[in-house]
């Protein structure tokens, strides 16, 4: 395996200091203010950059199997590496859904051939139909630690209760896409004054908040753990924060599009801005950002959702929901935390340590089949690292993205901060902003 010396970056570990990180044989071997370069080691200048644990995405749609025209495990992993991710959790809403051992194994095996760690979230119910429990214990034995029917929350309250009771002794967490499907009424954007003017059926905030509230109460009843996916309203985030403060086993993520874009983006009927839960009013966007800055959010997760171009060319109400996320999440998080005034440890908490804890990918979680992620940059950690340069400005160009799909809502937008280097599984995967 290769050896690297990351020279004079801002090391964001237990403490934050300018120093060197030596990587040898797939592990961090030394971290100090100054480390002598052993002979033959590749020296990477990290001056002016942040050096921290590689990012972990709790919410990646890889589309394989079933919709390889939009993304594959391989192309998604490359996009993730470009975005600074050393581990991603593949969502199970593939075709067919990842609801059994053989399909989960397929994705794990394919993922193992990529430069990063690809963990899998299994489906809670067979086929994600919300009717029968999927074999959670069998999938857990393969190392699956998150289960979700994402795209659709488990609507049936009794089934959700049983799933939580069943999941609890397995030590796994259920991740919920919270939207009451009936209240969402097949809508295609946030319900409000904009949707009413545009003549688009709206998805009310209440559809999300009601299910968040229900699931918090089911957690209280059963003791099972829930991770709340892509919280998009001020109120649902507040509910989760309050439940966590009570000591309930809940966690919550926010997605970059929800803390950077608001519902008015839909005004031109461009389906690239269609996503579930939908883009919300400015007040919610602001509330999400404030909570991030205040350290109240567990994780940023991309909900990276590639779609073939012809599907995003459909009329707004017919087009599929979802947008790309992996390659711009870090810059958008940096921006939301205040840009130049943002706190590096908070940044890595949202992008790496928080999500690694929820996905049980830290060293102390002893992940099966995967290396450890989200560590404190101490000797002995697996070498999953990122160098983030907060001084680079770059413009999003969909043609230049690694993802097979092009449905980025940030086309043409100038972002601040970019991943320069990704070291995953001990190897240099991205260097100087290029895949090696």
């Amino acid at each position: 395996m290769s050896s690297f010396l990351l020279r004079q970056g801002l090391v964001v570990g237990v403490s934050t200091f300018i120093g060197d990180v030596l990587v040898q044989d797939g592990q961090i071997s030394e971290v100090a203010a100054h480390v002598e370069a052993p002979s033959g080691v590749k020296v990477i200048d990290a001056t002016g950059c942040w050096v921290g644990p590689g990012f972990v995405d709790l919410h990646t749609h890889l589309r394989e199997p079933g919709r390889e025209a939009a993304e594959t495990i391989e192309s998604g992993a490359r996009a993730a590496a470009m975005g600074g991710y050393t581990a991603i959790v593949a969502m199970p809403n593939t075709e067919p859904a990842l609801d059994n051992v053989s399909l989960v194994s397929y994705v794990l095996d394919r993922g193992a051939r990529t430069p990063i760690d690809v963990a899998v979230a299994g489906a809670i119910t067979v086929g994600r139909h919300g009717e029968l429990l999927a074999p959670l214990a069998e999938m857990a034995a393969l190392g699956v630690r998150l289960f979700t029917d994402d795209g659709m929350g488990v609507q049936d309250s009794l089934l959700m209760r049983r799933a939580l009771t069943y999941a609890r002794p397995l030590g796994v967490r259920l991740a919920q896409h919270c939207e009451d499907d009936r209240l969402a009424a097949g809508g295609s954007m946030n319900e409000g004054v904009v949707s009413a003017r545009l003549g688009l059926v709206g998805r009310p905030a209440l559809a999300e908040e009601l299910m968040v509230l229900r699931d918090i109460e089911l957690v209280r009843l059963t003791g099972g753990a829930v991770h709340f996916l892509h919280l998009s309203t001020a109120r649902s985030l507040a509910l989760v924060i309050a439940a966590r403060n009570e000591g309930l086993p809940v966690s919550g993520e926010v997605a970059p599009h929800h803390f950077t874009l608001d519902e008015t983006a839909c005004e031109d009927f461009d389906a690239v801005f269609k996503v579930h839960p939908p883009l919300r009013p400015v007040a919610d966007v602001t509330a999400l950002r404030s909570a991030m800055v205040a350290g109240l959010v567990d994780a940023v997760a991309t909900d990276h959702a590639p779609h073939a171009p012809e599907l995003k060319d459909l009329p707004f109400d017919e087009a599929p929901a979802g947008m790309l996320g992996l390659e711009h999440a870090a810059a958008l998080t940096y921006e939301a935390l205040g840009g130049q005034t943002s706190d590096p440890s908070q940044f890595f908490s949202l992008m790496s340590r928080g999500p690694a804890r929820i996905a049980q990918l830290r060293a102390q979680d002893r992940p099966l089949r995967h290396g450890s992620h989200g560590g404190d940059l101490v000797a002995g950690d697996d070498a999953n690292l990122v160098i983030f340069d907060p001084t680079i400005d770059w413009t999003v160009q969909r043609e230049a993205l690694q993802s097979r799909a092009m449905n980025t809502p940030y086309e043409g937008r100038t972002l601040h901060g970019r991943v320069r280097t990704t070291i995953a599984k001990g190897e240099l995967v991205v260097h100087e902003g290029q895949l090696s």
């Binding site: 003549g199 688009l200 059926v201 461009d270 060319d313 009329p315 707004f316």
Partner: protein
Amino acid sequence: MLDTIRGSNLLTLADLSRDALVEVLDTAESFVEVNQRAIKKVPTLKGRVVASLFYEESTRTRLSFETAAKRLSADVLSLAVASSSVKKGESLRDTIATIDALGIDGVIMRHQSSGAAQQVSRYVPHVRVINAGDGLHQHPTQGLLDAFSVRQVLAQRRGTTGLESGSELFQGLRVLLVGDIRHSRVARSDIAAFCALGAEVRVAAPGTLLPDEIAQWPVTVSQNFDEALEWADVVGLLRLQRERGTGSFVPSLSEFTATYGLTVERARRLRPSTLIMHPGPMNRGVEIDSRVADLPAAIITRQVTNGVPIRMAVLYLTIAGSSVEVGQ
């Protein structure tokens, strides 16, 4: 805000200023006379090609647009969606690219999805797109012909002409829209037009058929339908959109008729001068009683008649822009 639609697309009335609206109404006045001639044709758009692309059933709007285009001497490509490759799964983008490849100056588009006309306008930026109704969003030419019809009748009563009155007759005019506002693109266009022209608009509907956040619209919601009927100078009825799943929004058609239908009894509350409009097609016996629809105060067929000069004006202004004079 646009101050003219000359050379522009017509996708919505929501971004048109009073001047832009009056310009269309005034231009339409000049085409009324053409429609009364024995030979109802002017060479205004001779050599221009207009495609009519209707993804949704329509009788009067399609006929009206195609008649308007032909009276302006435009060549009309009429795409019957049911018999085209759209049925084989061709996308909107490919369909419009195909038609565009034949060489067109304008496209008249009706679609069941809100925003479809605006999407198409992005695919063919060099072609003028005229929205003939998109989902629940807008039906601009209906809003224009409604305003035109009201101005025409009021001007005649005053012994003046629409052209001379400009927007004056709309100042303080009391317009009441009744029924399925929520699912109505006609309501959205009517509200935009009448409000911009200076009228006062009220709406009356069961709670479930009002749009979300109606409080932020430039209208007031009537709490008492009977009182609102006495208040109104113009009553605009809207079709109960049964095909859009209106069924679960009201308990039954008969309950809707009992509470918000313009029955014979309710029509007695109207002042004799009050005008009754309906964009058609009517559900006689549901939102309007058959006998009320046939009252002299009902200007429903006048609306249809005026559809042609309004659409001639729209085609002329958007496609010819400022390069051709009317009647040349």
